[in-house]
């Protein structure tokens, strides 16, 4: 699967909100492809929200796959374990536990300046559907709204949600309601 090529064709360098519909088993591969592409665009800076696992795993994956991370800021929704990666501590923002996940949108709002500064190019949300057991739909709606607003006034900015429509159709619809263009991979 050449997801990066399909993604490039769809985006054509334009900014906006996008939702990538990816089967759960292919999500990791697609994410690596997408980040390889995005970190090679512009100054390569962006924010990655890791929803269902410590971002240390994604960081290690990208390192092994040769994807540059020096301009990436990681935000973890569910764990404090990521801080074990000593070299990347300054790139991490941590929540204390999954039980704080309803505060995700408030977090984005409170730290919007920092997030916006780190995300000149893009924000990628890895597996938004994993929030389903923890968050009510209105909370997801607020979070998606907060993330999509980060791009206000930045024409080339991309906000990208990676998720499996089949497993969480209601969350997928929330993203669509926020004007996301669909990319099926």
């Amino acid at each position: 699967m050449d997801s990066a090529a399909a993604f490039r064709r769809t985006l054509s360098g334009e900014g906006g909100v996008f939702v990538l519909d990816v089967k759960c088993t292919q999500m990791t591969r697609v994410l690596v492809d997408i980040l390889r592409h995005l970190t090679g665009e512009g100054d390569g800076s962006g924010v990655v929200f890791s929803v269902d696992r410590p971002s240390a795993f994604l960081s290690r994956l990208l390192e092994r796959q040769g994807v540059p991370q020096d301009r990436l800021l990681y935000l973890d929704a569910v764990t404090g374990i990521s801080g074990e990666e000593p070299g990347r501590v300054d790139q991490l923002e941590l929540f204390s536990s999954p039980f704080c996940v309803n505060l995700f949108s408030e977090f984005v709002n409170c730290h919007s300046e920092k997030v916006a500064a780190g995300s000149k190019g893009f924000v990628v949300v890895d597996n938004l559907g994993a929030l389903k057991p923890y968050m009510t739909n209105p909370c997801v709606e607020r979070m998606v709204g907060a993330l999509t607003r980060l791009g206000d006034g930045a024409p080339g900015f991309k906000c990208i949600f990676v998720m499996d429509r089949g497993s969480t159709p209601e969350l997928y619809d929330i993203v669509i309601r926020h004007g996301a263009k669909e990319v099926a991979l």
Partner: protein, 229 residues
């Protein structure tokens, strides 16, 4: 049947998915336990081969230091297995040298992580996991805990095969850290014939069929017949 909020992948074992709401939760860890000759390695290979059909990649970690060609020699008669997929869609990795050289759980875990990060599989097998307990220095339970945690965070379904010891129904220390326990066993029918059985002992977040069910191993692999005992 309760609403299913978990994503699932098919096991590839004929008749088994109907016992567990359509397949293994993704991601999750599965212990397949049994004594010698019950079909643990066949189960694991059939699971990996099915992933190839669904466009997925697999890693087979062996702890036995058995060269690929030796292992393949005994399993190529199965119709579900295409030996050409080994080295391509299914990567075969020998943990033996790392186990014997360092015997350090952290080094072993890092080696496993590196292989997974490089190959990005959706299906992982460690066969057999029980050997590691006898070889590493340090806390085996802590290693198992870390391993299970890492495997799930790599977003894969991982099968760990475990030897059942005499007087022990299944490897207890491993059963605590996995999401699913499948027990393969041998038993005598009323007519005195020795038959194989499959039982799902534990499956978190899933309504599953309980009890022992007849299991046949043929050229087409393992087939479970629910209800036949």
């Amino acid at each position: 049947m309760v609403g299913d909020t978990l994503e699932r992948v098919r096991s590839g074992i004929n008749g088994m998915d109907e016992m567990m709401q359509g397949g293994f939760a993704f991601p999750s860890t599965v212990l397949v336990a049994g004594s010698a000759g019950t079909g643990k390695t066949t189960f694991a290979l059939q699971f990996l081969a099915h992933g190839v059909k669904d466009g997925e990649q697999g890693i087979f970690f062996t702890t036995l230091s058995e060269p690929t060609q030796w292992m393949l020699r005994f399993v190529t008669h199965f119709s579900f297995l295409d030996k050409d997929t080994f080295g391509k869609q299914i990567k075969y990795v020998d943990l033996g040298p790392t186990l014997r050289k360092d015997r350090d759980p952290d080094v072993l875990l890092k080696y496993i992580d590196d292989q997974i990060a490089e190959y990005m599989p959706q299906r992982i097998v460690i066969d057999p996991i029980s050997v590691i307990g006898n070889m590493i220095k340090g806390d085996y339970r802590m290693f198992l805990y870390d391993l299970a945690n890492h495997l799930k965070n790599w977003r894969a379904v991982s099968i760990l095969t475990g030897e059942v010891l005499p007087k022990e129904p299944y490897p207890v220390e491993i059963s605590y850290i996995v999401d699913t326990v499948v027990l393969l066993s041998l038993g005598l029918t009323a007519e005195g014939a020795r038959r194989k059985y499959l039982e799902i002992l534990k499956m978190r977040g899933t309504q599953h069929t309980t009890g022992q069910h007849l299991m046949d191993v043929s050229r087409d692999g393992i087939t479970v017949t629910v209800g036949l005992k």
